[in-house]
């Protein structure tokens, strides 16, 4: 599989796929927003349940992005695959944006529901750590000039930071927390009503497709920039 994942082949395949991915993301986000605003108020949360439709997908994409970044970093570290390094580097800023959105929208839900913008509980704290790891990863890439050394150092950081993913996931089980437990992917099926589940699925799919669209754009940008840099070196 790695044989086919070279930058030239990636550029050829990803170009035609981009408009379709972007359009699919827009359709699912549009459908999710419509269904979300059409949904009735929750019997406990009232209309603040609508914040869930932007908070949960952002949190899901933030964690998925880190998983993809860590896998790409591992592939880059083990196989010295240039596209894997580029993919990991391109994912980080997007992951940071979605993590920040999850934290801010969570805070905007927490104030009316818990009476506090922030609490130092397991889920929130581990999610804040995720943002700090993303920022540290981006800073480390920018601090090391040599691309090969930067890729190796950041890959190690990404792999060490991956320990935080199961902590985020299981924090609501391991510690007493204000954050509610799993309500969708749980034994016995989702515990939330279908009127909230459908808009949530549509938004989660829309966010995921949007992430892949932007990730591909960023990978293509990095490939073009590297080509330009090598041309510059050839000219000088």
């Amino acid at each position: 599989m790695l044989r086919y994942a070279n930058p030239k082949r990636f550029m050829d395949l990803s170009g035609p796929a981009l408009p379709w991915l972007g359009a699919a993301a827009a359709i699912f986000l549009g459908a999710g927003l419509y269904l979300g605003f059409a949904a009735p108020p929750d019997y406990q949360q009232g209309d603040t349940v609508k914040i869930m439709f932007v908070h949960v997908p952002a949190a899901w994409v933030a964690m998925m992005t880190y998983g993809l970044m860590a896998v790409s970093a591992a592939v880059g570290l083990i196989y010295r695959h240039p596209l894997a390094d580029v993919a990991a580097k391109a994912a980080a800023p997007l992951g940071a944006v979605f993590t920040a959105l999850a934290l801010i929208t969570g805070s905007l839900w927490g104030k009316p529901m818990w009476g506090a913008w922030w609490v130092w509980d397991g889920r929130l704290t581990s999610f804040l750590i995720l943002l700090l790891i993303y920022l540290g990863y981006i800073a480390l890439w920018n601090a090391i000039e040599d691309e090969t050394r930067a890729a190796r150092a950041t890959a190690i950081l990404a792999l060490v930071g991956a320990v935080n993913l199961p902590i985020i996931e299981f924090s609501v089980r391991w510690w007493t927390t204000l954050h509610q437990g799993e309500s969708i992917l749980r034994p016995g099926g989702p515990s939330i009503s279908a009127v909230f589940l459908w808009p949530l699925f549509a938004m989660a799919l829309g966010y995921t497709l949007l992430f892949f669209t932007l990730w591909i754009v960023r990978i293509r940008t990095e490939i073009l920039e590297r080509r330009a840099r090598s041309l510059m070196l050839g000219l000088s």
Partner: protein, 51 residues
């Protein structure tokens, strides 16, 4: 239409959450598209100069 968007006493929090999401995603889209267009133009210029 206004009934569709009518929200309870916490409307400010809900609109702020949607506003921040639209802003964050919008900025990400614009920055990604802008740096892609710039990288493409830069490479094209270099290739033109090289040929």
């Amino acid at each position: 239409m206004s009934g569709f968007f009518a929200l309870d006493q916490y409307a400010n929090f809900i609109w702020a959450a949607y506003g921040v999401s639209v802003l964050g995603i919008g900025v990400a889209i614009v920055l990604c598209a802008r740096s892609y267009t710039r990288a493409k133009a830069r490479l094209a210029n270099l290739e033109k100069g090289n040929s």
